[in-house]
């Protein structure tokens, strides 16, 4: 893992000292809220519906056990004993007091964490594949690239007042687990003629105007990455619309000017930025790479795993659902679900965070990851340790075997917390999970991704859910629109709206009708919901949603 240099430490300490003084001046009445707001947002501090919210960056979703323990400490000491992991691999605290935030930031700095650029019109936390460094399908670990981008973008003088926020995601594998096509810039590590380089996408994004990213360059050589990304952001910084916040994101710029024109402008700007980079970035990149060396994997028999797998059906179900293939023989990637049926998606108690930290230290080479799907990953666990690990997870409510299933729902905080929300998301997610758990059909249904947003800004990624749910306020009533056929992977697609929305009471039965229609019409248990939708189209699902409803009313 990357550890702060003296320079990093001094920088964070200075920023924290500045923010502490700003908070003091605000409390003393020497700063108005209009003056203070941009300062607090630069440090990740929002004001939500019931309290402040502190968003802490988890760079590319990677944490050590010491960092996870410190996150637990913050939850206990200054919040209500839990934290909320988000779709951008961050953690949010929902209840801090303004006067406590400077102490929270100092505590974070002790373990190389901060909240800088988790808000505002800047380059946000760079996200990456949560299986980075472990996945069997990986060309190269995306984290050194993400760390290089993080260092370059943090406090970058040219990019502190962008037209709007800017999000970058990196994947090192052809199977996209980082939703790169829905980011302002998506970077895929590729190999061409034995050379590592980058396929760069631009102009993806969700929100009120969802767009799938377009290819800006098929191959950017390794040494050109920073000047190329800098050229891209720089072109948008000048061209992006500052007259209308809803048209300011780069996806609109690309849409309005066309990808060819953007390519031409970026190329022209790249000639200038390339000349300005003197190679220090390449030395830095080589240094960063040393921090991401794979751990010393051990060779050990897998007998304990096989014995437990054969003997214990609960373990078997968990192993079949929550493990992913590791690149090293004998190892597995463990996905710990933060979606226990009926629980808030992405929430972990301080106690659970400590358990996860202990498990990472004991069985997982001290590494943890947060996924954009709001789960925790132990990327390197030897299979022989899995039965014991599973027992411990089970004892702490962390062994739900539902990764990728209908109850593994992404949900934004919605109107339970968020000041921008137009409806609640969390109770819809918990009710769907509870309902399908009661029906015991979750594993029969198979892979199905439901994503819920409580407003048009789409933090819950509903556009790319196989089933997307969008909560709106229609005449003072919570109303939920459904989209179908979205896809967040390398075959990314935006979901299509089914028709009129459903009330808070109607939405869970509506989802049940949709799933029943799928189960009735699928060709075999191997055909997933998304595949069935692609084969059948909207009609049978629309019928299940609306015709059945009419029949029920008529009866």
């Amino acid at each position: 893992m990357y550890r702060y240099t003296e320079f990093d430490t001094a920088f964070i300490q200075e920023r924290n000292r500045q923010f502490r003084a700003q908070v003091e001046r605000r409390i003393a009445g020497n700063l108005t809220e209009d003056e203070f707001k941009p300062l607090r947002l630069m440090n990740g501090l929002y004001l939500q519906l019931h309290a402040y919210m502190l968003r802490v960056a988890i760079p590319y979703g990677t944490l050590s056990s010491a960092q996870m323990r410190q996150l637990a400490l913050l939850a206990e000491k200054w919040d209500k004993g839990y934290g909320h992991f988000t779709t951008r691999q961050n953690i949010q605290y929902n209840w801090p007091k303004l006067s406590d935030v400077p102490d929270m930031l100092d505590a974070l700095a002790e373990v190389n964490l901060h909240a800088i650029q988790t808000s505002g019109n800047t380059i946000r936390n760079v996200t990456a594949d949560h299986f980075a460094g472990a996945a069997a399908d990986e060309i190269a670990d995306p984290r050194p690239v993400a760390e290089l981008l993080r260092q370059w973008s943090t406090d970058h003088p040219e990019f502190q007042f962008l037209p709007r926020k800017f999000k970058i995601a990196v994947t090192g594998a052809p199977n996209d687990r980082a939703v790169i096509k829905a980011h302002d810039i998506g970077i895929e590590i590729v190999s061409k003629d034995g050379q590592i380089g980058y396929r760069v996408l631009v102009g993806g994004g969700l929100g009120r105007t969802p767009m799938i990213g377009k290819v800006l360059s098929d191959f950017v050589p390794q040494e050109d990455l920073l000047p190329f990304v800098e050229a891209t952001v720089s072109v948008w910084n000048l061209l992006g619309r500052r007259d209308n916040k809803y048209k300011a994101r780069i996806k609109i710029t690309v849409h309005e000017h066309g990808i060819e024109e953007i390519q031409r402008l970026v190329e022209a700007r790249f000639a200038e930025t390339k000349a300005a980079f003197n190679g220090a970035d390449l030395d830095l990149f080589e240094e960063i790479k040393l921090s991401f060396q794979p751990p010393a994997f051990r060779n050990a028999p897998e007998d304990d795993f096989t014995a437990a797998y054969d003997a214990d059906p609960v373990f078997r179900s968990w192993a079949d659902t929550n493990l992913a293939q590791h690149k090293a023989p004998g190892y597995a990637i463990v996905q710990v679900s933060l979606k226990a049926h009926g629980q808030t998606p992405g929430d972990a108690s301080a106690e659970q965070m400590r358990v996860l930290a202990d498990l990472a230290e004991r069985f997982g080479h001290d590494e943890l990851r947060i996924s954009h799907e709001q789960n925790v990953i132990l990327p390197h666990v030897h299979k022989s340790d899995l039965p014991q690990l599973h027992q411990i997870l089970k004892a702490h409510g962390l062994a739900t075997a539902n990764i990728g299933k209908i109850s593994d729902i992404i949900a934004c905080p919605g109107m339970d917390y968020c000041a921008l929300a137009t409806a609640r998301s969390i109770p819809i997610a918990t009710q769907i999970a509870t309902r399908f758990d009661e029906l015991k059909t979750e594993h029969e249904i198979g892979d199905l991704k439901i994503k819920i947003s409580g407003c048009i800004n789409a933090c819950g990624h509903h556009h790319v859910g196989h089933i997307g749910i969008l909560g709106l306020d229609r005449g003072g009533v919570e109303t939920y629109q459904i989209t179908l056929g979205g896809d967040a992977t390398e075959t990314a697609a935006l979901g299509e709206r089914t028709g009129p929305g459903f009330s808070y009471e109607e939405i869970v039965p509506a989802i049940e009708r949709l799933v029943d229609a799928y189960l009735d019409q699928r060709e075999s248990p191997e055909e997933t919901f998304l595949q069935a939708y692609r084969r059948l189209g909207m009609a049978p699902f629309k019928e299940a949603l609306y015709e059945t409803e009419k029949n029920a009313e008529a009866a």
Binding site: R26, I27, A28, G29, T32, E33, L47, Q48, L49, H50, A51, Y52, K80, N94, W95, P96, K97, L98, S99, T344, M415, D416, Y417, R424, I426, P427, T430, D473, G476, V477, E478
Partner: protein, 101 residues
Amino acid sequence: MPKPFTPKVVTANALIEGDVIYLAADDSWVRDLAKAEVITDEAIAQMRLLDAQARASETVGVYLADVKLGTNGAEPTHFREDFRRTGPSNYFHGKQAEADA
């Protein structure tokens, strides 16, 4: 015909705690919507809003929220204000927990 004026309360978030507060008739900030001053006159509502906004070192984001007058004082007319006066629905946190304590 001009629209009839909907009764209002002055509301905001407290500067330090960040929680929801309402302006009472005696100019104090209260945590309970039922204890808020219900303003039925538009001109007075604007005056009370301006007064509250001037108290910048106590509050953040002062605005007028629609209410109706119930048997126990002000009640919300929109679900957003109902959540603000209660707390989140996923945990027993926020105002609902404080009221209980």
